[in-house]
């Protein structure tokens, strides 16, 4: 099962990103573990300064701004 982490300390875009991923996974029928990381030290350990960041299975795939729908699909399917 894929583990997707959304990095961000409670900003609105971070919430939205997590929701978009959850909905996309449900629609695709893919089971994922979605985790919201709010601890600043852990966020920064990925080298991210612009939130939201997205980490798929330990690998950073996105930083800053809302991700596009095709990007999200790629993370879930790929």
């Amino acid at each position: 099962m894929k583990t997707i982490k959304v990095l961000g300390s409670g900003c609105k875009n971070c919430e939205t990103t997590a929701n978009l991923i959850r909905i996309a996974a449900e629609q695709a029928g893919v089971a994922i573990t979605l985790e919201k990381v709010t601890d600043m030290a852990e966020i920064m350990s990925y080298g991210v300064m612009s939130t939201p960041g997205v980490v798929v299975d330990g690998k950073l795939v996105h930083a800053g701004g809302l991700p596009g729908p095709d990007q999200i699909r790629e993370w879930i399917d790929g």
């Binding site: 966020i43 920064m44 990925y46 300064m49 612009s50 939130t51």
Partner: protein, 317 residues
């Protein structure tokens, strides 16, 4: 073109009488909304297409390890061209500290960034002309430079929260961006959506305030209190701007309305800068990394700087 559109809607469609206060206000509102949003979308799209919008991570790489004067110059220039979201200011602050960038340089960046960005600069030229745009940008850059230097004198290191020094940043490894035209287009559209989605409320609020000022504030009252002779109008404008917040684009229609009614240029600039760069929500976000004395100092340094800029322009304009 925008004028024709506004005439059509306000006088034609709604049948308001030209010259009456509601008609004037509404005309201003329709025209500025159409013009500013058209400019916003076009500019951000073009910037996105050129991938000219820098991320804070890239800024950090450019600034780290440079001699102080160069670091400050880069921080201010890059701060001015990075329309970063204020929700990123905490990780940004920590990231700069972690890279060994001097605090004074970080403050210069934090001052320049909300006050100036290339999108607002182009809109400023479009609405108020290049002269005023140049004055605003020059004043903003100067305040960012001097503000950071002054902050440094107070040794703000002692007010940084202890945990900030302990964080270690990892190396960011993002996949290479898609450089094809289609990829650039997708990125540009996403940027437009992201930035316009974030700032449209501030812009509409700014236009509404500008429209009300344009329609309802009598010129005689402005001439008496805000035309530049009264010394207190500049500090009053700065104080008024602290609790108010809008982004750099949102303050432009307010300035447009004020200048149109004859408010002195220094007073207008001081209010613009105070609204864009000095804001309570922003300060409360920074409280996560620095303690109250540093925040109070930050606010005071900026308030004094904006007041001096205002007086200077009022005296020589």
């Amino acid at each position: 073109m925008f004028d024709v559109l506004a005439n059509l809607i306000v006088y034609g469609l709604l049948g308001l009488t030209p010259g009456s206060a509601p008609a004037d206000a509404l005309h201003f509102f329709v025209m500025d909304t159409a013009k500013i949003f058209a400019l916003l979308v076009i500019i951000i799209y073009v910037m996105g297409l050129l991938r000219a919008l820098l991320s804070p991570e890239r800024v950090r790489e450019y600034v780290r390890g440079k001699p102080r004067w160069l670091a400050r110059t880069l921080a201010i220039v890059l701060g001015a061209v990075t329309p970063f979201c204020s929700c990123s200011s905490v990780p940004l602050f920590i990231g700069f500290v972690e890279a060994g960038i001097p605090l004074g340089v970080t403050f210069s960046f934090l001052i320049a960034s909300p006050m100036i960005n290339e999108v607002a600069a182009v809109i400023l030229v479009g609405i108020l002309g290049w002269k005023l745009a140049a004055l605003y940008v020059a004043a903003g850059l100067t305040v960012a430079w001097v503000g950071g230097v002054v902050m440094e004198r107070f040794r703000p290191e002692r007010w940084v929260e202890a945990y900030v020094w302990q964080i270690h940043m990892g190396q960011m490894q993002l996949p290479e961006p898609d450089r094809s035209l289609a990829g650039r287009h997708r990125f540009a559209v996403a940027e437009v959506r992201e930035i316009v989605g974030r700032i449209w409320k501030w812009v509409v609020a700014g236009i509404a305030v500008g429209a009300l000022f344009h329609g309802y504030v009598p010129e005689a009252w402005v001439a008496e209190h805000l035309a530049g002779d009264a010394w207190y109008s500049v500090p009053a404008a700065v104080l008024l701007g602290i609790p108010l917040y809008s982004n750099a684009t949102g303050v432009i229609p307010i300035a447009e309305a004020m200048l149109g009614k004859g408010v002195a240029i220094g007073t207008t600039l001081a209010l613009m800068m105070s609204i864009a760069a000095l804001s309570l929500p922003e300060m409360l976000i920074l409280r996560k990394v620095i303690r109250w004395p540093a925040l109070a100092l930050y606010a005071s340094v900026l308030a004094v700087a904006f007041t001096l800029v205002g007086w200077l322009f009022n005296a020589f304009a």
